[in-house]
């Protein structure tokens, strides 16, 4: 009964103080939108990095005289290196087949290759766990007994490696800037929300005082204020998720272009759709917590018995 009265009274207050409610909610919407947007973008950047790094591999070219047992042993040794994600063996025939397929349009080359005996070496393709931790693999490959098995020095995805390194670095930096910006934005807007709710309650301190004089208990006075602030939070969460959704839908091509291709908007959209419920819950949770905490703090000072 009492709880229902408190909730009811909070909702009625919300409607009757609509102008203040709109101000408080507007700021909350901004905060929650920034948080939500950065969550999606952050995940998209991680996805981009993963995609780029997954394309990187190390090719080890084996001498033609390497026996099957030698290559099998080498494969299992490589598999046991902690930085190696996967190892694939391609025989001379497989390599040739792939080569011919790749160059099927170049008839002269195809003919030239098929006239000689297969010039291409058997190849081991190593996928590293982390692009930035190749030293162990490099060290292993340059051991004398291992390099003796190789016809050529290993290739690190050829010339792409450097470009990929740069992109990864740039994405990492962007991600860090993003996290930093989110933290600052969140802190600033939480402070503003606190302030707005404090002002809203400051305007109604007389009301609190009157309720006190009539003998209302602390919880009974405070309850409706908390319900009111939580309502701001819930509505702000819903509005912000609608805004983000609309932003992704409306301007995906602009975003894609302005992010130099680092941002896979299609992925961001899918991420948003797939995690909609989780994101909505995060938003609601944040809105409710910010609303409840700030109104608790703001009402506290007016609820103290200051008896001289």
């Amino acid at each position: 009964m009492t709880l229902w009265r408190i909730i009811n009274s909070g909702l009625v207050n919300f409607i009757r103080n609509l102008s203040l409610a709109v101000a408080a909610m507007a700021i909350m919407v901004v905060t929650l939108t920034i948080v939500l947007f950065s969550l999606v973008i952050n995940d998209t950047f991680s996805h981009t990095i993963n995609q780029i790094t997954s394309k990187i591999d190390i090719s080890v070219y084996l001498n033609d005289n390497v026996s099957t047992s030698q290559s099998t042993q080498l494969l299992s040794q490589l598999r046991h290196l902690p930085d190696v994600a996967s190892v694939t063996y391609e025989s001379k025939d497989q390599v040739l087949k792939a080569y011919l397929q790749q160059n099927a349009s170049n008839q002269q080359l195809v003919q030239a290759v098929s006239e000689t005996s297969n010039p291409l070496p058997a190849t081991i393709i190593i996928k590293p766990v982390d692009l930035n931790h190749l030293s162990q693999i490099k060290a292993f490959l340059s051991k004398p007994q291992v390099s003796a098995l190789q016809s050529d020095p290993p290739s690190y995805s050829g010339q792409e490696k450097e470009a990929i390194d740069r992109i990864t670095h740039a994405t990492n930096v962007l991600q860090r800037i993003g996290v930093f910006a989110v933290i600052i934005f969140t802190v600033v807007s939480v402070l503003i929300i606190f302030n707005t709710i404090q002002m809203a309650i400051f305007n109604r301190r007389d009301e609190i005082h009157i309720m006190r004089l009539l003998g209302a208990s602390t919880g009974y006075i405070r309850g409706p204020f908390i319900v009111e602030s939580i309502t701001y939070g819930i509505l702000a969460a819903i509005i912000s998720i609608i805004i983000i959704n609309a932003a992704f839908q409306a301007s995906s091509s602009t975003l894609q272009a302005s992010s130099l291709g680092l941002l896979d908007i299609g992925y961001a959209n899918r991420f948003f759709d797939n995690h909609f419920i989780v994101l909505l819950l995060i938003q609601l949770g944040l809105g409710i917590v910010i609303g409840a905490v700030s109104s608790l703090i703001a009402t506290r000072r007016y609820l103290k018995f200051k008896i001289r």
Binding site: R204, D206, R212, L214, G215, A216, S217, R308
Partner: protein, 227 residues
Amino acid sequence: MILLDRVSKTYTKSGHPSLDRISLHVEPNEFVIVVGASGAGKTTLMRLLTREERQTSGKIIIGGIDFDKLKDKEIPQLRRKIGVVFQDFKLLPNKTIFENVAFALEMVGMGNHEIRNTVPKVLEIVNLSGKENSMPVELSGGERQRVAIARAIVRQPKILIADEPTGNLDPKHAWDVIKILEKVNRFGTTVLLTTHNQEIVNRLKRRVVTIKDGKIVSDRANSGYKS
């Protein structure tokens, strides 16, 4: 019902006391008028009785509650036992007339059905039937004061404290308010009324306690007002 024994209240450490060793005993069902010029200490007395302020020395016992033993968290219970009418009405601006009166009942946990029955009856006593859905700003001063009285009496308190309830009203409305207080008193509530309106004092013919410079200078039954 109300007992004050040598109660003093000083706001500043070295300053002049606002109330200086006041002793007052009010019997149940009495109607007592406290008179005195502005600044004599009437409002301080009322604020001590509702525990808005704490006496500097002396003893206050109201309805069996000894103020020396009253903890902060017990103040709401005390205030629920006393009906208070303020000079500036102190209505809740965001609530309708009905809700303002109902609020006093809600916090003591009365059911919705009972509240819907009780509030109109009390509004009828103060002649405000039909104003249930108005907001306080839509009412005149006299009407607002009657809402405040309705709110104070709806819980049927044993004690009603009215601090200058007619201070902001014209004579006609002032008299309406006084008549309601008399009616409440006839129903068995102890009424403590402060005023500096001589005409009200003279027409009421009740016990009059006169305060001057923080001291009780006279305490007479059925007396008129002498300034």
